[in-house]
Each structure stands twice: as structure tokens, then as C-alpha cells.
């Protein structure tokens, strides 16, 4: 304790918290390959990654929300509501604009604007009105779910058949890369994950999120604009939900009251599995990406193999999220 110079870094040690999610991912890949020969085929990998892109894009935003000590339960129903509205907008302009990409552009714009507005509403209620994030987003979760049921009149909102055919490539096609296709969803997910990781790790904004999640008072006393930073986490998340919806709509061309059910569970689970602290103060985007892929692989394995019914996927995700938090707790206690 008496030396005046402080070493910049102690000897590097293998940190279980860092490699844990990666080890889990590796184990899953090996297990999957052994159980089903089709598991590692180009088609299956493309399929798994494309499907994980929706949750993945949302989970990147969720990482910022949770790191700054918040939570958003409304993302699943928000996605369903935005999807419903996007389809309504596209159908409304279908006659005047015809079957064109500008029609899709208008729908996409509507989705992004709605996402930002929805995030803003959550953010205002949490930061300015001062209601618990849990309660606010539980409330908006119910509101959006009910709204989408209402605009769909309890049934399904669909795009016209020709439009569906036209827009399908947004989800299913992309840039060919060797033996597989880098679909647009995968590409977009990758870009957002990389940007997210840089923002979290290398910008003042990411540092401020972690500071607020660790101790809001310290952040305030350090001249951090706490309300603005927290508000932005919800707005960013809303924007990303809108973006995920833009990719989702062309896949099925429809939205229904059951769209996006339990997405919030999956997104939050991915964030926690990735090593972000549930109570805030520490977050890492690459961990979230790992978590998303882990969850998708489990889902995929359940579909490919016959050990466990795929209907139990939600239950398995529930168990995983609880386990991940238990593991976080123990790590904390050891320190």
C-alpha cells in the first residue's frame, strides 16, 4: 500500500464473467452439431441468425436501458403495435403510390417515428413524472397490446398479397457471402451491435449510462444530465424496436394480437445472459449479442431435435434468465 506509483494493469486473469457466455455458446454449437447433422448447414445458420436479428436489435437498445438502471417491458407489444400501424399505413397508401419501394419507405418511416414517440412516452413518464420504469412499461405494455388487438379487430392485419411478394426480399435476401447469404436483417443487426458496443465502451454517453446505473446521485453531482441520458436510452430503444419491426413485417406480411409476444422476456434474458448487471451500472453489448444467439440456438435445437417440445421454449428461456441472475448474484457475493 505504500508505493506511490500505481500499476496501470494487474496480471491478466481468466475472468469467468467474461468468457462464461462464450463458453456456453461454444458448448451449444458443439452439442447442436452432434445432435443434428443439419445444424451447421449454411441454410440453418442463416435462418437462425436472421430470426435472431429482431430480438437482437431490440436487445442492443435494452442493454443501454438496463445499464442505466432502467427496464422496458413494453418492447414486445410496442413491436406488435408498430407492425400493425405500419401495415395500415402501407395499405392506406397502396392505391396512390402503387406497388413501389417508396410505399415501403413510407411504412418504414412511420414505424421509426412511432418507435421514437413510444420510447419518448416511456422516457417522459419515467424521468420527468418520476414513475418506476417497471410500472410505466408494464402499463404501456398493456396499452400497446390492447391497441393492436383493437386495430386488428381481434384478428390479423395483412398486407395485400402482391405487396407481400414485393417486400419479401427485405427479410429473406441480402449479400451473398461464400456458401451462405448475409441477409439484410443479419447485416443490420451486425452494424447496430458494433455501433452499440462502441457507444457503450468508448463514448461519454456509454460511460454516463453506467454511472447512472451505478449511482444516480454520483452522476448528478458529477454534472451528468441524468434525466436526458435516461430519456435517451428509452428513445433509442423505441427507435430500435421500430427498426426491428421494419424487418419483421416483410417476413409474414401481417400482424396480429399474438405478434411479438414474450419478446421482452427474450430481449431482457439476452441482455442478462450477456453479463449486463440487472441492477445497472455495467453493460456490454457484445455479451448481449452472444446472449441473443444462445437463445436462438436453443430455440432452433428444440425445433430440430425431438427431446423437448418446442412449445416449452418460453419455459426454457424463463429458466435461463433466472439462472443467469442467480449466477450474477453469486459473483457479486464472492467479490
Amino acid at each position: 500500500m505504500s508505493d506511490t506509483t500505481i500499476p496501470a494493469s494487474s496480471a491478466p486473469r481468466i475472468n469467468l464473467q467474461v468468457i462464461g457466455p462464450l463458453v456456453a455458446l461454444a458448448v451449444l454449437v458443439v452439442a447442436g452439431a452432434l445432435m443434428n447433422g443439419n445444424f451447421l448447414s449454411a441454410g440453418n445458420i442463416t435462418n437462425v441468425l436472421s430470426r435472431s436479428a429482431f430480438i437482437g436489435i431490440i436487445a442492443v437498445g435494452m442493454t443501454f436501458v438496463i445499464t442505466s438502471g432502467g427496464l422496458d417491458l413494453s418492447v414486445g407489444s410496442m413491436a406488435a403495435f408498430i407492425a400493425g400501424c405500419m401495415i395500415l399505413v402501407i395499405n392506406y397508401f397502396a392505391d396512390s403510390l402503387g406497388q413501389s419501394w417508396s410505399l415501403f419507405g413510407i411504412g418504414a418511416l412511420a414505424a421509426l417515428v412511432l418507435g421514437v414517440v413510444a420510447g419518448f412516452v416511456n422516457g417522459i413518464l419515467i424521468t420527468k413524472v418520476g414513475i418506476e420504469a417497471f410500472i410505466v412499461t408494464l402499463g404501456t405494455m398493456g396499452i400497446y397490446r390492447s391497441l393492436v388487438t383493437w386495430i386488428a379487430n381481434g384478428g390479423t392485419l395483412s398486407m395485400d398479397f402482391e405487396l407481400r411478394t414485393l417486400f419479401r426480399p427485405v427479410y429473406f435476401e441480402g449479400i451473398p457471402l461464400g456458401f451462405m447469404t448475409l441477409t439484410w436483417p443479419i447485416l443490420l443487426f451486425a452494424v447496430i451491435a458494433i455501433v452499440g458496443e462502441i457507444v457503450m465502451r468508448h463514448t461519454a454517453y456509454g460511460r454516463h449510462c453506467a454511472a447512472i446505473g451505478s449511482n444516480e446521485q454520483v452522476a448528478r453531482y458529477s454534472a451528468v444530465k441524468v434525466d436526458r441520458v435516461r430519456m435517451m436510452t428509452y428513445v433509442i430503444l423505441g427507435l430500435l424496436v421500430g427498426l426491428a419491426t421494419i424487418l419483421y413485417v416483410p417476413r409474414l406480411g401481417s400482424a396480429s394480437p399474438s405478434t411479438g409476444v414474450l419478446w421482452e422476456l427474450e430481449a431482457i434474458a439476452a441482455v442478462i445472459i450477456g453479463g449486463t448487471m440487472l441492477k445497472g451500472g455495467f453493460g456490454r453489448v457484445w455479451g448481449t449479442v452472444t446472449g441473443v444467439v444462445i437463445l436462438s440456438l436453443i430455440d432452433n435445437l428444440l425445433n430440430l431435435t425431438e427431446f423437448v417440445s418446442p412449445y416449452l421454449n418460453g419455459a426454457i428461456q424463463g429458466v435461463i434468465i433466472i439462472l443467469a441472475v442467480v449466477l450474477q448474484r453469486q459473483k457479486k457475493a464472492e467479490r
Binding site: 500500500m1 463514448t203 461519454a204 460511460r207 454520483v218 454534472a223
Partner: protein, 501 residues
């Protein structure tokens, strides 16, 4: 020393990994005597106390209770055998009432399972009145002042019929008057045959209430004896290992240019129409009793609380709505609550250092090399000592945390530095460093406001003193008028005259 010891440490050593923090400590607590354990932060006091109370096991040596080896696996076990500890950080359930806290886990029942509230309230009330506390026992803890919370902690321990009471800096958060109530209670407990271990950085207290003194330095016992053999100078010398003749640096005359003019600063319910000026190169002491509104006034000025005021910096009016505005106007504020509001305890040194002035390190992304360089400079300038930069700030001693907080505040390059309780809970060696640093700031032409409850600090540091009472300015003392008597008279309102601001 006389009497049979009730609790003893015999050849106790304790290591954390390769680091030995206590070496061969022998030490006995005798019924009816107060044993003071003193030393700088990091000397091993806390470790010794934790071993005594069952929070930690010794690596070598043993704990003896009534002469027989005792192994407390948990603090509860130690408590069941009559050993209680009063922590610096309170162990109280904030949302429960005073009475509910005092009887938590040992509630009195009547009939089948119902609580006997009346009896518990009566017993708690009687005990607390002896301690000089006036608050109702049905008050929620969160509504109590810090000193009242301390009294509840003490009351809780007394209720458990303790034989050994370990007190970790109990007066750090008390006013002089509250402290003297505490000393009366300690005298009463002594008379009842309780053995007391007492730690404090306030050496005058030790001289006043202790019977035996043990001085620790770097985990070793430096000296041990009855209190009569020590005066305050010797205690300080033994703790630090060098002479501390000039605790306070020499003052110089400040300039005459006004850098800060505050008019009618009001914080609803706490501060009323406070007005004063600050000159370039001046150290201004802000004195008053706990609760006089000093911290509230400064936090109001910094935009950390809702407040109204006309503020001029260097003759120009500024509007401060939040801390960022204050920093932009050239103000810096070092909070009195370094653990709750000053530092992120779970993070390492560098992110804590740069949080306030992070903008300086951002090109497009954060320049981590520049951050590390700033850390190097801070370690040099402020003599921050830590085992490594990667350790969480919570593992630093209070003194090093305070130096880090100072470094963080100064990184914002303030012209006007407000330091709230600069040396609370800090050992005397570090205190001296911080005093010299404050003086150096003033000599370099910066202006400093020191908010302090320690009279010696106010008198030793200030070029001028503003005294507050009940949220208002009670008076102002120039350099040659600053005496303990004058400050106290203003703080307590004894002169019967209040400045109409």
C-alpha cells in the same frame, strides 16, 4: 491496566491474500473501561474491530471471551454472547419506525402471536429519553436526522444488554452537544461494567473519555498504555510516525477582487436570503451547527437543489439551473457524502476521476490514453495510494477516496472550489495534506469555500468566516476576529442579534 479482561485478542494476525493487514495484535477489553484504538486510515483498526465482533476470522492467533477461546462464525453469534458493534454506516431499516428497528428480530409478543406494541414503545421511549433523544419512537427512521439515527443504533445495542460495545467513530456525524450526550452515556455504561472499544479521529475526545489507548500503524501496535501517558500531540505523532507540528499551513492575505457575489440565496424550507461575497485567493469558512443549512445552501448554489439566488461570477450574472451550468460558470463542489454522492464505489479509479470532466477526454470517442495520463498526474499531485488502478474505489481508505474526489473535482478546472467537510472520517496525516492543498489552491489564486463542522478546521484554514444559523446568515468574522468563542456564539445565536440580510 486492572481487572480481568472480558474480551481479548491474543497474538492475532490477519492477511488478505498476500497482504498482512494486522500483525501480532494483543489487546484486552476490561469491564468498566474504555479502550481507544487509534491509527490512520488503513492502519488496521477496522480489521481488528471486525475480528473482535465475529465479522472476520483471524489468520493466526485467537479471540478469547472470559479467558476461553471463542470462535464466532457470524456477528449474530458474537451478539448473542453480549458483543455488539455500532458501525459507521447505520444498520437500520429506513422504512420502519424507531421502535420497530430497536426490537427488530426480538419483538415482544403477547397472547398467541400478536405484538406487544405498547410495551415495546414504552421501553424504547424510556431508553432513548435517557440518551437525550426527543423524537417519538413511532417516527420512521428515514425522517430522523443523522445524529438521531446514531442514537437509535446505540439504543439498539443497549437494549441487547451488551457486555462489550465496539464503537466505530460514533461522533463523526454528531455535533458537539450530541457528542457530549453520547459521552455521558458511555460513562453510564462504564459504571455498569460494560467494556467499550472506541475509535475516533478526534484526539481530544480520546483524551477525554478513554482509559487505555492502543496506537496502530500499518497493522502493528506502535504503543500501548493508559491515557494519562498521552497528550494529543503524542497520539498524533505515534499514529503518523512523524511530527505534526504545523497541521494548518500559514495563511496569506487574499486579494480584493470579488470573484463570487451571492445575493438572497434561498432554498425552500432550508436556507433564507443568504448573501455573501468571495474574494480571489481567499479561503472562506462556512460554519454553523449541523442542520444550519450550510450544505443545502451550497447545493442550492450548484443547482443540485431547487433554489433561487442572484449570483455573479467575476462581476457577471450567471444562471445556474443544474450542476453542468455551475461547472461551466467555473464552480466546483466536493460533496460531504463521498460514498453516496461523490464516487462510484464499484468502479475503478480512472472512470471515477474523469466522470465530471469527461468532455475534456472526448474527441469523437473517449481518449483512454489521455485518461490514464490524467490518472498519473492525479496520483502524483494528490498522493493517491492504491494497490492497483483496477481495484474498485470502495476498497480504498477514506483518505485516498477523498484525495481521488478532490482530484476529480479539480479536473473540472474550477476557479471557485467549494469543499464540504474536507476531512470527515479521515486520519490526521491525510488531513494535513488536504489542508496544505486547500491553502495551495488559494495561493495560486483560486477561491475556496470550506464548509466544516470541525471548529479547528474553520479557525485554522479560513481567511474569513461566515456563520449560519437556522438557514440564515448569523454573522461574518474577519481574520482577526475568528475565535472559537465568536463562532460558537454566532452559531448558537447567543449574541441575540441576527443579521437581517
Amino acid at each position: 491496566m486492572s481487572g480481568t479482561p472480558v474480551l481479548e485478542l491474543v497474538h492475532v494476525s490477519r492477511s488478505f491474500g498476500p497482504v498482512e493487514v494486522l500483525h501480532d495484535l494483543n489487546f484486552a477489553l476490561v469491564p468498566g473501561r474504555v479502550h481507544a484504538l487509534i491509527g490512520e486510515n488503513g492502519a488496521g483498526k477496522s480489521t481488528a474491530m471486525k475480528i473482535l465482533c465475529g465479522y472476520l476470522e483471524p489468520t493466526e492467533g485467537e479471540v478469547r471471551l472470559d479467558g476461553a477461546p471463542a470462535h464466532f462464525r457470524t456477528a449474530q453469534e458474537a451478539e448473542a454472547r453480549g458483543i455488539a458493534m455500532i458501525h459507521q454506516e447505520f444498520n437500520l431499516a429506513e422504512q420502519l419506525s424507531v421502535e420497530e428497528n430497536m426490537f427488530l428480530g426480538r419483538e415482544k409478543r403477547k397472547g398467541w402471536r400478536l405484538l406487544n406494541k405498547a410495551e415495546m414503545q414504552a421501553e424504547a421511549g424510556a431508553l432513548l429519553r435517557q440518551l437525550g433523544m426527543v423524537a417519538d419512537v413511532r417516527t420512521r427512521i428515514s425522517d430522523l436526522s443523522v445524529s438521531d439515527k446514531q442514537m437509535v443504533e446505540i439504543g439498539k445495542a443497549l437494549l441487547r444488554k451488551v457486555r462489550v460495545l465496539v464503537m466505530d467513530e460514533p461522533t463523526a456525524v454528531l455535533t458537539n452537544r450530541e457528542a457530549s450526550v453520547l459521552f455521558d452515556q458511555i460513562a453510564r455504561l462504564k459504571a455498569e461494567g460494560v467494556a467499550i472499544l472506541y475509535t475516533s479521529h478526534k484526539l481530544d475526545e480520546i483524551a477525554r473519555i478513554a482509559d487505555d489507548v492502543t496506537v496502530l500503524r500499518d497493522g502493528n501496535v506502535v504503543v500501548h498504555g493508559v491515557v494519562g501517558e498521552f497528550d494529543e500531540d503524542r497520539m498524533a505523532r505515534d499514529m503518523v510516525g512523524r511530527d505534526l507540528k504545523n497541521l494548518f499551513p500559514e495563511t496569506h492575505d487574499p486579494g480584493t477582487a470579488k470573484v463570487l457575489e451571492i445575493r438572497n440565496l434561498s432554498v425552500p424550507g432550508r436556507v433564507f436570503d443568504l448573501s455573501f461575497d468571495l474574494k480571489k485567493g481567499e479561503v472562506l469558512g462556512l460554519a454553523g451547527l449541523v442542520g444550519a443549512g450550510r450544505t443545502e445552501a451550497m447545493e442550492g448554489l450548484m443547482g443540485l437543489r431547487p433554489a433561487t439566488a442572484d449570483v455573479q461570477v467575476n462581476g457577471k450574472a450567471v444562471v445556474i439551473r443544474d450542476m453542468a451550468d455551475a461547472v461551466a460558470a467555473g464552480l466546483g463542489y466536493l460533496t460531504e457524502d463521498r460514498k453516496g454522492r461523490g464516487l462510484i464505489l464499484g468502479q475503478s479509479l480512472t472512470p471515477n476521476l474523469t466522470l465530471l470532466a469527461l468532455k475534456k477526454f472526448v474527441r469523437r470517442l473517449i481518449d483512454k490514453k489521455a485518461e490514464e495520463k490524467a490518472m498519473d498526474e492525479a496520483i502524483q499531485t494528490f498522493d493517491i495510494r492504491a494497490p492497483s488502478r483496477q481495484v474498485a474505489v470502495k476498497n480504498l481508505s477514506g483518505g485516498n477516496q477523498q484525495k481521488l474526489l478532490l482530484a476529480k473535482t479539480m479536473l473540472g478546472e474550477p476557479e471557485i472550489v467549494i469543499i464540504d467537510e474536507p476531512t470527515r472520517g479521515i486520519d490526521i496525516g491525510t488531513k494535513q495534506q488536504i489542508y496544505q492543498f486547500i491553502r495551495k489552491l488559494a495561493d495560486e489564486g483560486k477561491s475556496v469555500i470550506v464548509v466544516s463542522s470541525e471548529m479547528a478546521e474553520i479557525i485554522g484554514l479560513s481567511d474569513r468566516v461566515v456563520v449560519m444559523r437556522h438557514g440564515r446568515k448569523a454573522g461574518e468574522l474577519a481574520r482577526n476576529e475568528i475565535t472559537e468563542d465568536a463562532v460558537v456564539r454566532l452559531a448558537m445565536g447567543l449574541d441575540g442579534q441576527e443579521y437581517a440580510a
